[in-house]
Amino acid sequence: MTAARSTAAQDEYLGEHHVYEPHRAGLPPLVPYYREVWRRRGFAFELARTTMHAANTDTVFGQLWLVINPLLLSGVYYLLTDILGGGTHPKNFFATLTSGLFLYYYITGCMSAGATSVTQGGRLILNTSFPKMLLTMSTSYTAFRRYLPTLLVYGVIHVIVIKTITWHALWMIPVLLIATLMGQGLANLFSTLQVYFRDTASFLPYVIRIWLYVSPVLWVIPGRHDHSTKLQTAVIHYGWVNPLFGPLAVQGQALVAGEAPNIRFVLYGLVWAVGLFVVGSLVFMSRERDFAVRL
C-alpha cells in the first residue's frame, strides 16, 4: 500500500496520467516537483524576458537603463560617502563601492521582486496546475539579467581604477553561485510571507536600506595588513550573523584587492546561502497549496 501510494504521488506532475493525493507533511513529492520545474523552465525564462521588455519598452533609453541605472546608483552613493567621509576614502574605494553595490542589489533584487511574484501571478495560479516556484525563479532570473550589464560596467571601472586583475578574481564564480542561491531562497521566503501579509513588500525597502548599511558595501573591510579599529574588528568577528557579509567580503578581497579571500568568509556565505535556499524552498512548497485560496 505504501509503495503504491508513493508511486501514485510521484505521478502528480507527470505526463498524461495524474494522481492527486494529500501532500505528506504539507510537501509535494520533491523529485517530480523539481523535475517539472526543470521541464517548464522555459516559462520562467520567457516571463523574465517579457517582463524586462515591458519594463523598458516605453522609455527613451530602453534597455540602456540596465547600464545607466547602476552607474547613477554608484555615483549617488559615492557622493554620499564622499560627503560623510569628508573627502577621504580608502584605496580603490570606488571599485569596492560599485562591485559591492551591484552584488548587493542583485541579491536584494531577487528578494524584492520575488516577494510580489506570487501575488501578481493570481490568474495563472488560480487557473493552472504548475510548480509555483517557477514564478520566484523567473524574478531571480530577471535580477540576474539586470546584474549582468553591471558586471560590464564594473569591468570598465576596474580597468580604469585598479588596472590589474589577478587569478583570485575567479572566486567570483562561487560568489555568484552563493548570491544566486541566497537570492532564490529569500525570494521563496518573502513571496510566501507576502501571500499571508500583503504589506510585506512595503516593509522590504526599509529592510533593504538598513541591511545595506550593516553590510560591507559603503564601508571597506580592512585588508590583512591594514590597521583596523575596534569597531571594524567587532563587525568582522560577528560577520557570520549577516548573510550578505560572506559574499560581499569575498568579492572585496578577491576581485577588488586581488588577494586570496578569507576561507572563513567563504564558509559564512556558503552556509547562509544553502540554509536560506533550503528553508525558503521548503517554506514555499509547504504553503504552495494555500496560494490558490489566499489570492
Partner: protein, 274 residues
C-alpha cells in the same frame, strides 16, 4: 424535498469490469483549507489583532467525502448553489488544490477554463500571455506556435494580440481565454462558469466549438449556473451542496431535484442559456 445526504448518489456506470479506466476518478475527497476573512491581510492588522486577541482565520471544509467518476468521452455537469464547492472541486480535479484526504486520478491531458482564464499579466501583450500560459501548462514552444494562429483566429483578436492586455475589454479577455482552453487539444476540458464569453456572435461560436469537442469524444467537466447549458451539453450531472455530493444522475433529474430544492422551479431565469 431531497434529503441532504450523499446516500442517493447513483453508482458509477464505469464501475463494471468491462469498462475502461475512467477519465476522472474522484475517491472520497475531502478538502479543508484555512483562509483569512480579510480581503487584504497585512502584518500591521495581524499585530493589532494579536493585541486584541481576535481571530480572522476561518477553516473552510470545502469538500466533504466527494466521490464520482467520469468515463472517457462523457460530459459531466456540476450544479449547486454559491459556496457549494463547485469551483474548489474543479481546481482539485485540475491539480491546483491538492486534497486534504482522498484520491483523484485523471487520465489524459487537462485544459482548464476556470472563471478567470488567461491574461495574468495585463502589462504584457495577448501574444505573450498566450505563450506564457501555454508554457506554464507544460506545452512546448513548438506546440504553442502551432496552435497560436488557430487561437487568435477563433478569438477574432488578430489585430489586438500585440497590444497589452490592459487595453482589452472584458469580452476580449473572455474570448481569448476560451480560445486558448479549447485549442490546447485537451483530452479533458474543465470549464467553470465560462460559457458566457463574449457577445451573441461569439457565444454561438463557443457553443458550436463545445459541440464539436463533445462529438470528438472529449471528456468535460462543466460548472454552470445556467441550467439549460447543463441540460443541453451534459450526459450526466452531479449536485453539490455545502461541499457534499447530494446526487448524481441524468441532467434532467438532477436539475429538477436541484430546482425543487431551491423552491424556484425550472423558470426562464434559471434556464437562461447561451
Amino acid at each position: 424535498m431531497i434529503s441532504l445526504s450523499a446516500s442517493e448518489t447513483v453508482a458509477s456506470p464505469a464501475a463494471t469490469p468491462t469498462a475502461r479506466v475512467p477519465a476522472i476518478q474522484v475517491q472520497d475527497v475531502h478538502l479543508t483549507y484555512r483562509t483569512s476573512l480579510q480581503k487584504n491581510p497585512t502584518l500591521k492588522s495581524a499585530i493589532v489583532r494579536l493585541g486584541r486577541r481576535e481571530r480572522v482565520i476561518r477553516e473552510v471544509r470545502a469538500l466533504q467525502g466527494v466521490s464520482f467518476d467520469v468515463p472517457h468521452g462523457k460530459v459531466m455537469g456540476v450544479i449547486g448553489s454559491n459556496g457549494a464547492g463547485k469551483s474548489t472541486l474543479m481546481r482539485t480535479v485540475a491539480g491546483i488544490l491538492p486534497p486534504t484526504s482522498g484520491r483523484i486520478e485523471v487520465n489524459g491531458r487537462v485544459s482548464t477554463l476556470l472563471a478567470l482564464g488567461v491574461g495574468f499579466n495585463s502589462a504584457l501583450s495577448g501574444k505573450e500571455n498566450v505563450t506564457l500560459g501555454g508554457l506554464a501548462a507544460g506545452l512546448t514552444r513548438a506546440e504553442i506556435r502551432e496552435k497560436y494562429e488557430e487561437i487568435t483566429a477563433f478569438a477574432e483578436l488578430e489585430d489586438f494580440m500585440d497590444m497589452p492586455m490592459r487595453t482589452y475589454s472584458s469580452g476580449m479577455y473572455s474570448r481569448l481565454a476560451f480560445a486558448v482552453a479549447v485549442h490546447m487539444d485537451p483530452d479533458i476540458l474543465i470549464i467553470d462558469e465560462a460559457l458566457s464569453a463574449g457577445d451573441a456572435h461569439f457565444k454561438k461560436k463557443a457553443s458550436d466549438k463545445m459541440a464539436e469537442l463533445v462529438s470528438k469524444a472529449r471528456t468535460m467537466l462543466v460548472v454552470s449556473h445556467a441550467l439549460g447549458t447543463i441540460k443541453e451539453l451534459c450526459d450526466e450531472a452531479i449536485w453539490l451542496h455545502k461541499g457534499q455530493l447530494i446526487g448524481r444522475g441524468r441532467p434532467d433529474d438532477m436539475i429538477s431535484a436541484y430546482t425543487r430544492f431551491l423552491q424556484v422551479g425550472e423558470d426562464a431565469l434559471t434556464l437562461e442559456d447561451f
